[in-house]
């Protein structure tokens, strides 16, 4: 096992990051048109329109039940819309597009294996099992010392950090996160936000679901505010937080309950 030093994770990834950025361009703009998703006779996504550019971190925000997580899954192609279209640079979400993205779930889904094996599993899938890269990823999420622990014995925060490291192992062009820090300890929240920021800085598109207003303020380049399955407001972060144009976003930011 190599002694780890926390030096320049960026420089190691600089090449791949620019490559990712070049390839990611082909996935954008992301255009969602008249998207409808129905389940059990209820319309959960209702004629949703949205366009996202390749740049920066987009925060999906809204009250519980607004359809944030659902939209994220639809974008990633985990579920199929009832009607309407999703187009990543002109292409419907398919297996190829899925593999160029990575999704971090609210409740981390970890294999019943060691921390190391969880990373290696994904590295091997992408044909690049490489101990050095694994160590680097583990170092970035602060899990080097727990490398041989069973993944599912880690604390909630450690588990989510591992899930994030595993997501980054695939060198995604788009990183999708579904409320990854809800109910985590502050230290883990800080670390995850830091990594998300670094990742975005390297040109990876981040789409981040949260209903934590503070977190949205810390991370957002632009904010998409969802209400009852459609977009109530989509604005640059500064404009959104200083002067929201929709009444539901205003109420939400003011801490009022939205029905």
């Amino acid at each position: 096992m190599r002694e780890f030093t926390l030096q320049m994770p960026h420089s190691v990834n600089a090449g791949s990051a620019s490559k990712a950025a070049a390839k990611a361009a082909s996935l954008f703009p992301l255009a969602v048109n008249a998207l409808i998703f129905e389940a059990g006779g209820r319309r959960l996504i209702d004629r949703l329109d949205l366009t996202l550019s390749a740049a920066g971190t987009t925060i999906l925000m809204g009250p519980n039940g607004a359809g944030k997580s659902l939209l994220l899954r639809l974008l990633h192609g985990l579920i199929l819309p009832s009607d309407g279209t999703i187009s990543w640079g002109g292409k419907q979400p398919d297996r190829d597009i899925q593999r160029r993205q990575a999704l971090v779930f609210q409740k981390p889904v970890l294999l019943r294996r060691s921390v190391t094996d969880n990373i290696d599993f994904v590295l091997r899938l992408h044909g690049q099992a490489d101990a050095e890269r694994r160590q680097e990823l583990l170092a970035r999420v602060g899990l080097l010392e727990l490398a041989h622990q069973p993944a599912r014995r880690l604390s909630g925060g450690e588990q989510q950090r591992l899930a994030l490291a595993r997501a980054l192992a695939t060198r995604p062009e788009v990183l999708l996160l579904d409320e990854p820090t809800s109910s985590l300890d502050p230290a883990s929240v800080l670390m995850i936000e830091q990594i998300v920021r670094e990742t975005a800085a390297r040109g990876v598109k981040v789409i981040f679901v949260t209903h934590d207003i503070g977190q949205a303020r810390r991370l957002a380049d632009d904010v998409v505010f969802l209400h009852r399955g459609s977009v109530a407001e989509h604005a640059p972060a500064a404009a959104f937080f200083s002067n929201p144009s929709s009444s539901v976003a205003r109420d939400f930011l003011a801490g009022r309950i939205i029905l």
């Binding site: 985990l78 190829d96 899925q98 999704l103 889904v109 294996r113 599993f121």
Partner: protein, 251 residues
């Protein structure tokens, strides 16, 4: 085969107790004496049942996992079929395999009837549905947890099956034990296709049946105790394996 005497009264309560005591005394005596015939029977029992188990696991793990991770028309029927076949009466399996392997049957030319191979085939047929059905249940539970992750990672069906089987491996030990338990304990199928031939196809259960039919209940019971001890040993080994591994990486 064995020289002993027994109490031999089924109706007399006091005597029944003596039968039990006698059986335990006999069981220990048999094992300690290192009786060669008994050893031969134990080895054959293990060979037949473990071979059947190996075949069943290869087929059952694959089928069970395949059904767990795929959606196809008639899948519900497949699940119901597995679950129903779990209750296959050994005698029926024995009869089917007999008809198949009999010299007058379609596979008669192979000359497999009354051989350990025939017994392995019968037991494999008997326990494959158990292994498949329990595997499906376990893998399906695990898959419901992993499904979105695997989809997101773009895993193929085979990659997903491999990962699920690996992650479920310690639960699958329990599945294998269930299959082994049924195989080693069944008498109906091996009696018919093996013929209970001394020094060739006599296993623990058919020996027990034979001693019962000779009215030697104490010896039959003693053999039963030995069988139980074997079963317990196999279970203990498997579970300690599971525990060791669980300490290492599994949670």
């Amino acid at each position: 085969m064995y020289i002993l005497h027994s109490c031999g009264n089924l109706r007399n309560k006091r005597c029944n107790l003596q039968d039990f005591a006698e059986a335990f005394r006999l069981a220990f005596g048999l094992v300690l004496s290192g009786d060669r015939d008994l050893f031969e029977i134990i080895v054959l029992s293990l060979q037949v049942s473990l071979s059947a188990l190996m075949i069943s696991c290869v087929i059952g793990f694959t089928l069970g996992t395949l059904v767990a991770v795929t959606r196809f028309p008639g899948r519900g029927l497949a699940v119901v079929t597995f679950n129903t076949l779990m209750g296959l009466p050994p005698v029926v399996v024995g009869l089917l395999v007999y008809l198949l392997l009999s010299r007058a049957g379609p596979l008669g030319t192979l000359g497999l009837l009354y051989t350990p191979t025939a017994m392995i085939i019968a037991q494999a047929i008997l326990i494959t549905p158990i292994v498949a059905a329990l595997t499906r249940q376990i893998i399906e539970d695990l898959f419901s947890e992993y499904d979105e992750l695997f989809q997101s990672l773009g895993l193929s069906v085979w990659q997903a099956m491999g990962a699920l089987l690996w992650d479920a491996r310690y639960s699958l030990i329990t599945v294998a034990l269930a299959g082994f338990g049924r195989a080693i304990a069944e008498v109906g199928a091996v009696m018919i296709v093996g013929g209970n031939i001394d020094h060739l196809t006599r296993v623990m259960t058919t020996a027990i049946a034979l001693e019962t039919s000779k009215g030697d209940l104490a010896l039959a019971l003693a053999l039963g105790i030995v069988l139980l001890a074997i079963s317990m040993t196999v279970n203990a080994l498997a579970l300690s394996m599971r525990a060791t591994a669980a300490r290492q990486a599994y949670a």
